[in-house]
Every structure is written in structure tokens, then in C-alpha cells.
Symmetry: C2
Subunit: 198 residues, 2 copies
DNA sequence: GGTGTTCTGGACGGCATGGTCAAGAACTCC
DNA sequence: GGAGTTCTTGACCATGCCGTCCAGAACACC
């Protein structure tokens, strides 16, 4: 009996996400969000609550999608080590450098907001823990597949790989040349994932 | 002949820096800055220009101080490799975790502003290039001192070390337990700086 | 077609924002 | 002590901000 919604919730979340991603949380105004979403104030507030709650919703959806993607890539990958390598190399994957300059919404948000907004820090921990778990699984598989030194600790490598990826991402955000960024990623990977001598 | 200033410029820059550091650029209001600096509007604007110019001044001073510190540590260090290790381990150096949660002003600012503010991205490139140069020098020295594989490329390791440090810092900002953060840093270092087999 | 429910769009309010400006104060040099 | 210069204080402005609210619209069910 109620009047049905005229907008698709997921579409709105994506549009709003891009705005937050490009401008940062504090620099994004509600007017910006209304513009990119195409909604009126009543609709946006009614469906998502205030700016802070909307942002958290956007962030959670973003993280969940990323985690799902990583998991799917691992399940589909012929070799576990490929997923790990792609996880780091992907940062410099866009030859135009636009993706590298944009960085990761979660990483950007954590850097901007972690001090003042515990919710965001907690979300980041949750997400990074989950990524570490998947990477650990990938590395354990890589050991069985003979691509990683079987004597190493997969969880230890996983954390180092995650740190390396975050670091490459931070460098990418400075606008560093993509070729150079790719070199940084490869340099880190070469040392973090030494091929077992066979 | 002119009336002398009643404030110390460097003290103001430091006070303002802490405010930007804790709240981020956009979330810091001019009123905040007036409060922590103790200045009136006319004085602050007269001495530093608007918010954006003041911020850039703060960021440059911060970077310069960091670079000077790194350089001095290298000049004073008994072994080149110690500087490199400390560069990464220092992120988890404060046992309370407060420093790790706070992160680095430059890294935080780059994540928040790089897209919208080319000045900040350029400053970050300048700073990271300079850090890479010092780390490269430290690693070359470490090779001569027998602490790093002489066959490796110092510049390549330096970039990977910088990425690892930035990554550990990003994780520290999430509020990750300090002991765990320290473990990540050590895990990365162990693999990036293998002791030469002698 | 009437009724109850939710959705929509925008008007509105109150406040915080960044930045300007002017009037007077503090100092040095002559 | 007068003149010239810069510094200080805070009033002031225009705008932008977030969030509330309400009158009307759109639907499902009876």
C-alpha cells in the first residue's frame, strides 16, 4: 500500500560512493550528494539517514564488493600465487594512471577519518583482517603448488604483502609515473615472494 | 619602524600542524586554527595567507624536518642498515600506539587531498623522492658494510622499503594492535633485507 | 473510489564557514 | 615627540552547510 521508491538503492550508493571517493568525506557536501544521486533531500535522508550513516553504508558496500572479488579470483585462479601477485600489481594496472591516482576508497577514508571516526577505523580493521585471511589462504595454496617457499609462514607473508600493496597505493596517489609504480610493486613482490630454489 | 610581531612563526606553524594532523584539512576550521594558534584573524591571514597556503606551509615545514631528521640519523648511524630498519620499525615504535594511530601528516594529507589539490600531490612526490634517495644511500652503505646482499639494486630495495613503511603506517592508522603492527613491520623487513649468507 | 501508507521535492531555519576590512596599537627611526 | 610602517583585534559579510519538516503525490488494498 505504500508509495514505491522511484530510485534504485544500489545505483544511488554507487553514485554517492564516487563522489566521496573523488572529494573525500569532509569535502563532499550534501548538495553534491543530492546532485549526483538525483534524489531530493527527503528521499536521501529517509533512505540512508544522515551523511555519516550514508558514508558508512557506502564504505561497507565497497569493502564487501572488494572482498567478494578477491575471494572469487582466488577460487577461479589456476595458481594461488597469481592472486597474490595481481593483488599488488593491480594497483598499477591502469596504464593511464587514473586508477592509481584515485587510490582505494577505504585507504583514503581511513587516512582522512580514522582519528575522528572510530567506525571507519573499525571497518578498516575488519576489511584488512579479511583480506589478510584470503591472502594467507592463497599463499598456503601457493606453497602446496610449489610457488612459494614451503618453510615460510603464510600469514607473515600475507601481512607483508598487504602492507606492500597499501604502500604502493599510497605512492600511486601522489601521481607517480605508472611505470615507476609498477617497478615498485615488482620490486616488493620479488623480495616478498622469492621463488623456491628447485 | 614597523610594529614587531607578538608571536613566533614556528610555534604557530607547529600548533596549526597538530590541528591539521588530528582533524584533517577539510575538517579543520579557521576558528580551530585561530584558537590553537592564539592569533587574531588579521594576524594569521596577514602572516600566512588563507587556509590553503597555510596548510602548504605547514606541510613543507613538516616534510623538511622529517628529511633533515632522516639525513642526520644516517650521518650519525654506525651502520646504514640500522637506519633503514628503524625507518620501518619506528612506525610501531610508540608502545601506546598513539603515534601509529596518528600516522604521518604527509601520508594522511595525500590520501585526503591528492585528487583535488595538485600542490599536495607534488609535495608528496618531492618528499618521497628525497626519502628514496636517502634510503638508497643507506642501503648502498649497508652493502659495503656487508649487511645487505651486494648483488641487489639499492634503489629497488629503497622503493620497496618506502612502500612497506607507508603500508605499515596505513595499517597503524586503523588502530591495529601495536605488537601486531610491529610484527608486520618485521615480517616485511626480514624479506626485503635478507642478511647475506656469509 | 476511498483510505492508509510511504515516497518526493523543496522550502525553511539556524548556524558555521572562510575571508575582508578598518580602526587603533606598538614599535623604530629621525 | 612626530611620522611612517606593520601588527592586532574583532566586527562584519556573504555564502554554504546540514538537517528538519511539510504539503502533495503515488501506490496497494478494500
Amino acid at each position: 500500500m505504500p508509495r514505491p521508491r522511484e530510485f534504485d538503492e544500489d545505483r544511488v550508493v554507487l553514485a554517492v560512493r564516487d563522489e566521496f571517493w573523488d572529494k573525500g568525506y569532509a569535502a563532499t557536501s550534501m548538495d553534491d550528494l543530492l546532485r549526483v544521486s538525483g534524489l531530493g533531500k527527503g528521499s536521501l535522508y529517509g533512505a540512508f539517514g544522515d551523511k555519516h550513516r550514508l558514508f558508512l553504508r557506502v564504505l561497507r558496500d565497497y569493502d564487501d564488493a572488494n572482498l567478494r572479488g578477491l575471494r572469487e579470483r582466488l577460487d577461479a585462479a589456476p595458481r594461488g600465487v597469481d592472486v597474490v601477485r595481481e593483488f599488488v600489481l593491480g594497483v598499477a594496472g591502469d596504464p593511464t594512471g587514473a586508477a592509481a591516482r584515485r587510490g582505494c576508497l577505504l585507504a583514503n577514508s581511513t587516512a582522512e577519518l580514522a582519528t575522528s571516526t572510530p567506525d571507519v577505523a573499525a571497518e578498516a580493521r575488519r576489511s584488512y583482517d579479511a583480506i589478510t585471511a584470503i591472502l594467507t589462504e592463497a599463499l598456503a595454496r601457493a606453497q602446496r603448488e610449489g610457488d612459494v617457499d614451503p618453510g615460510a609462514d603464510p600469514a607473515g607473508i600475507a601481512r607483508a604483502v598487504l602492507a606492500a600493496q597499501l604502500g604502493v597505493m599510497a605512492l600511486g596517489r601522489t601521481g607517480m609515473d605508472v611505470a615507476e609504480l609498477d617497478a615498485v610493486a615488482r620490486s616488493a613482490l620479488t623480495r616478498l615472494l622469492p621463488t623456491p630454489s628447485r
